[in-house]
Symmetry: C3
Subunit: 273 residues, 3 copies
């Protein structure tokens, strides 16, 4: 049975998600649909790019992943479809939404099969009128070559990659989850075995730091922050049963620095700068 995942900023109060699913099921009967989220902040392509990529490896080959966060709907921005190395499929507007998954992409096309599209009404709901029919075509096994020309210049979000210097790793908070965990973009494998000090700072807050390394949340002493290997193999900062993002007043984009030659004798406790 073909599998479709769905990621949008349509919210859960409205009829938009159902309309997309109705169109898909009308022409790809029996497809199984899994929601990733529909709570992406309106128009927030960067959050969507993260949420699309994070669960991607868990889905079986052949899955079609449809993502519609599309402030340019109705303009001349392209509609993209991609085949990945594991023979899965991605469908999204050409606005950077695929950025985090481009390393997985084997072939990328600009979909121009107007015969697939529904004719409105309006130009405000391509999720229903264009993206859902494209996803349905892939679910039905429509030939990949037929969808449109191969392209090589998708829009990419300008997200600076993490940096690795002697004694210092520099990255950012890539995501804050419901528990207030700060998920960074710094690979856990970059950390040496010895003591490290992880410091987080944003434009609007003082910097906060911790040198406590743990393996799971329940190991963190009450009221303290610690860092641990997160579920995406990156450095994560957390508290135990409390919301660290609220406590430290930091969110996505905050700068993260890790001193890897840190001497714990000098400053044993987290420092509030």
């Amino acid at each position: 049975m073909p599998l479709l995942t769905l990621l949008t900023d349509f919210g859960l109060d409205d009829w938009y998600v159902a309309a997309v699913k109705g169109v898909v099921l009308r022409s790809a009967s029996g497809a199984q649909i899994v929601d990733i989220s529909h709570q992406v902040p309106p128009g927030d392509v960067e959050t969507a790019a993260f949420l699309l990529a994070a669960p991607f490896p868990t889905f079986p080959p052949g899955t079609v992943h449809l993502a519609v966060v599309d402030p340019g709907v109705g303009s001349d921005r392209r509609l993209l479809a991609a085949r990945t190395h594991d023979a899965s499929w991605l469908v999204a507007p050409d606005n950077g939404l695929l950025t985090c998954l481009l390393p997985e992409v084997d072939s990328l096309r600009s979909v121009e099969r107007t015969d697939l599209f529904l004719s409105g009404p309006g130009r405000t709901f391509h999720g229903r009128d264009r993206f859902a029919p494209i996803a349905a075509a892939l679910l039905r096994g429509e030939p990949w070559d037929s969808l449109g020309p191969v392209i090589g210049d998708p829009v990419r979000l300008a997200i600076a990659p993490p940096r690795r210097e002697p004694g210092l790793l520099t990255g950012r908070v890539a995501h804050v989850d419901r528990y207030g965990n700060l998920v960074t973009d710094l690979p856990w494998s970059w950390l040496p075995a010895g003591p490290c000090r992880v410091e987080v700072a944003s434009h609007t807050t003082a910097s906060h730091a911790t040198d406590r390394r743990v393996t799971h949340y329940a190991e963190i002493p009450p009221g303290e922050a610690a860092f641990l290997p997160g579920s995406l193999a990156t450095v994560e900062l957390s508290m135990n049963g409390e919301n660290l993002a609220c406590r430290w007043h930091v969110g996505r984009g905050a700068r993260v620095q890790i001193a890897t030659h840190f001497s714990p004798q000098a400053t044993m406790k987290p420092v509030r700068g």
Copy 2:
């Protein structure tokens, strides 16, 4: 595979939606279920009527649409089932919830098959005890004639239809979506090609207007409002990347007037009355 859509005011924090699905799947094994929304404000039949009708055309014939927003649960209000012209099915309490879809209805019955119903406990959860079994019966292909007597007097919501006079269209904001778009009930096809001025006012706010006509959101200049053909073929008012409903402080039910003989030379800019 039979398809069921589900629309309720049960919310997403509770066990009520799952109980309805459990009962359906217990007696209509393999049915595919698509949520429309469970976030209808408690008891808000008018919102539910809109949300039920809007995605209806996207679903394939044969779909069963179950809607449970039912402040009269346990009283003697009737339980309705309807067959539509495209051989789909509607199931809802008789409280106006079907109002927007009555033009699609081919046959309407008051369901009185007590043999289908679960016997409580209590009279507070007919979603589980009566509506889910009715939906499951339709999914299983139970004979339509057997469900109960044909009726011709369903409860209808008193929603004034839009009016069309020379030089003036009068309607209302039928819906506000997550982006703050004001979806009106005025058919886009009523608009003449020439300049128009769209004015929105409610009891509690000053009136706001725009004479800017666009085809999609990205075409709207920052900070301005415009009108465009929406995804239900009606006039929609929007901003680009901002929430117009918040900006203008208007919500569902606000009056919308469109001056169709509007001379743009006289008042080029939106007027805050």
Copy 3:
């Protein structure tokens, strides 16, 4: 087709729910998944225990119920699987989450099949790495005996059961729903036919009471509170179209007392203490 229900505190904004589903569908292709809720307050095992048990009886035998509210993730707390009397399955961390369903359990095992588990990354997401594979194994029909040793000492939440004395029933608010109904743990069958006075009090609020007994919400006079048999066969306190929990400022855990020898002549009206 095997059926899986899913209950977590992962929220609806994030990728965690999708990752669990992806892992399940990767190895139990075609399984049908029904969400109970993902909005359990972070780490609130007691709410989860209630939400897992309430819809349980509606699902068909053979269903796998997976619940992941797991503040101890990554520690040495056990991973439990249970077979119920109706041949359904439960999967959850050993932290009390199964408390309300233990009377349904026929056989309980500590799952130690490390060959099933995914190897990280990290120890923070056993929903993806361990619980989803266990659920998938049960959906595939993996032999029950093979999962791990039988145990008899699951963690149980310390929830005092309701008490029944001559003239007085004492229990608690077990749940507050979206409508503000106060769902108590007092069996409706304990109530005598005569007049009763139901009183609710918490540490932080004055006590409130009602002696009005009804059968459904629409029967309650505007602005008043009443009690009625709820959808779990317990005493429920409600208003008609208003939120009683907000009105009385009471929540889960508030004490409920029912005077069953109450003489309505003495105090006809609800008393605010």
